[in-house]
């Protein structure tokens, strides 16, 4: 069987960038910056970028290229051939499993983006207020009742879900070079162009209402980037709680007046940069954002890079991919959603609507586009941009499973695609059907997209640091590289990256998971368990067991003393 390869270095760069650029760049990042304060958040973000994300990304690229040269393309074969330890065959399952389960719900959100884009260009979406927009979102996605999304109408999710499913499987069926690379070569420049058009439009936005000087793009940028975090706090019960974020002179004067009038009830608090940086939640949010944004520790990069040629440059390619991702996140994502939302709703209105992933994108901005001149076109551009970002990410989530079936069962691509389709489509349909309160999506995201990602990232760090050796990993990365990494990078990879990663994982467990308030944990182990959540977790365990059996009986994992696959 002829082995598929990337046809050019730019192709792999665009494919990996596409894998990294997704909904988190355009929807989650601006909300996080606004919540935690630009200067403080970006300080922690940049620190995490250089200390965790980049070293780990380079390690994953290097392991992938090395594993590909040894004859393997899935995390299972790559980790086994490099470590030559049988246990890593089974540990590598995580790198296949988590992308498959992330795909199962990611494709559901991808269909929302397509549905919104199509309905905007058809001028079907004209919202007059937030409630109307939120109501449409609930109906469209089926959040109000299970099976709500399973209706055939252009104003319901189902047709779009079928289209995105067909598109994703068609692209992986065409192969790495003719499918994924071909699509990303056009999709990524188009995505950048659409993003730049939107940024220019939003930056040139005149005040929506002349009588409300606090509702401008400038205030939106201030909400995100002002280094001091000024809040109006209210005394409730026995403690002061944040009541409102203050941005702009008028809002500050009003808040100060209120605090002067009722000093027992209200106070204005200004938090400086160092004080903000002393908050552990800020560090966790920044690390999580940069880590998930670069798709480090997902197994997708490892699989993609296993299709690289020996002469391809690992270091430069990983740096360019990271730079493209950061450009999309900071220079495009950071200049669209929050400034537009504040220009329309004001700071208080935007915070009231929510800064979450779905709130800003699918509830707040559709109202903004409905009122904007030529809003249908710009709404189409925005959701088209999200859709392209989502497709380039979702195809990277299918490839590890496809490579695993091709490798472990020695199947041709047609059969492997069929197997992946048979495996993933019931899980995706389950997520889309049990849409009430997005329970299935939330469960899959927690176990597949957070717990397993953290664990797999730690494994990648352990393999590259302690099994192979950090210096040797960097030595392999430097092979055929234009930019030569020094031993300082090896030092960071050896000491800082795993320590920081393990510390963040433990901190996340204790501040979010083991608090007794985590809904996903309570859904499984609580006094009132959710059957939908239990089935989701059972599916993850069942697929892991199935993959273990395939590996156990597979004859593909015979290697020589150098780890090279014996055929």
């Amino acid at each position: 069987m002829k082995k598929d390869k990337w046809s050019s270095q730019l192709g792999i760069i665009l494919a990996v960038s596409g894998s990294a650029v997704g909904l988190g760049n355009f929807l989650k990042f601006p909300g996080q910056v606004a919540t935690y304060g630009g200067a403080a958040f970006m300080t922690a973000y940049i620190f995490s970028f250089f200390m965790i994300a980049m070293p780990l990304s380079i390690a994953e690229w290097t392991l992938g290229r090395q594993g590909g040269h040894l004859g393997y393309n899935s995390a299972v074969g790559i980790l086994y051939s490099i470590t030559k330890k049988k246990i890593f065959k089974y540990i590598g399952i995580l790198g296949v499993l988590l992308t498959a389960f992330i795909f199962s719900y990611y494709v559901y959100i991808e269909a929302w983006c397509l549905g919104y884009a199509v309905n905007f260009i058809l001028e079907n979406l004209n919202f007059t207020g937030f409630e109307q927009s939120a109501g449409f979102f609930a109906e469209f996605t089926g959040i109000t009742r299970n099976g709500g999304a399973f209706e055939f109408s252009h104003l319901r999710l189902m047709p779009y879900l079928m289209i995105v499913f067909a598109l994703n499987f068609y692209l992986i069926f065409k192969g790495v070079s003719k499918g994924i690379e071909f699509f990303c070569k056009y999709a990524m420049p188009l995505l950048l162009l659409m993003g730049l058009v939107l940024v220019i439009r939003i930056m040139c936005l005149a005040p929506v209402d002349e009588t409300k000087p606090e509702q401008t793009v400038n205030q939106g940028l201030g909400f995100m980037w002002n280094p001091e975090k000024i809040t109006l706090e209210k005394f409730e019960g026995s403690s002061w709680v944040e009541s409102e974020r203050i941005v702009g002179d008028i809002a500050l004067a009003n808040a100060q007046e209120l605090a002067m009038e009722k000093p027992q009830e209200y106070r204005v608090v200004t938090m400086g940069l160092l004080e903000q940086l002393s908050q552990p939640q800020l560090w966790m949010a920044a690390t999580g954002q940069v880590f998930f944004s670069l798709t480090v520790g997902f197994g997708a990069i490892m699989t993609y890079t296993s299709y690289m040629r020996k002469k391809d440059d690992v270091v430069l390619s990983s740096v360019v991919s990271a730079a493209t991702n950061e450009f999309c996140e900071v220079c495009i994502g950071g200049l669209i959603t929050v400034p537009a939302a504040v220009a329309f709703f004001g700071v208080a209105g935007t915070m009231g609507a929510g800064l979450g992933l779905f709130d800003l994108g699918f509830k707040v901005l559709p109202v903004f586009f409905s009122t904007l001149p030529a809003g249908s076109f710009f709404g189409f551009l925005f959701f088209g941009l999200l859709f392209l970002g989502a497709v380039t990410s979702s195809i990277s989530m299918l490839q590890p499973s496809l490579s695993f079936f091709e490798e472990a069962m020695e199947l041709k691509r047609t059969k492997s695609v069929s197997y992946v389709l048979l495996l993933i489509s019931p899980i995706s349909l389950y997520v889309a059907y049990y849409s009430e309160g997005l329970k299935a999506l939330s469960t899959m995201d927690f176990w597949g997209g957070q717990v397993l990602v953290y664990i797999f990232a730690i494994i990648v760090a352990i393999v590259s640091v302690w099994v192979i050796g950090a210096r040797y990993t960097i030595h392999m990365a430097n092979e055929n590289s234009l930019m030569q990494l020094s031993n300082k990078v090896a030092f960071v990879l050896k000491y800082f990256t795993p320590t920081f990663l393990i510390f963040m994982f433990i901190a996340w467990l204790f501040t979010d998971v083991f608090t007794g308030k985590n809904e996903n944990i309570n859904d499984i182990f609580g006094s009132n368990p959710s059957m939908v959540a239990i089935v989701c977790l059972s599916m993850i365990i069942a697929v892991a067991f199935l993959f273990s059996l395939i590996i156990f009986y597979s004859k593909s994992y015979n290697i020589d003393k150098n780890g090279r696959r014996i055929k």
Binding site: Q9, L10, I13, G38, A39, M42, Q66, H69, L70, I82, T83, K84, N218, Q219, L221, G222, M224, W225, N226, P227, E228, K310, K311, D313, L316, S317, V319, V320, A323, T324, E326, F327, V330, C331, G334, L335, I468, G469, Y472, H475, M476, N478, E479, N480, S481, L482, M483, K561, N562, G563
Partner: protein
């Protein structure tokens, strides 16, 4: 937006933009790199 806000905003976005343009420039102008040595043929345990 305050002066500090403008400073942070311009510093962060221009740094990211320069990083992006520089890395793109490097990849477009990159020449084929002379191979150092073939690490692939080295047994990892013998490193």
């Amino acid at each position: 937006m305050t002066l500090g806000g403008w400073f942070t905003f311009l510093l962060v976005t221009s740094s990211v933009l320069i990083f992006f343009i520089y890395s793109m420039y490097k990849v477009i102008t990159a020449k084929k790199v002379k191979k150092m040595h073939n690490v692939y043929d080295v047994d990892i345990e013998e490193k």
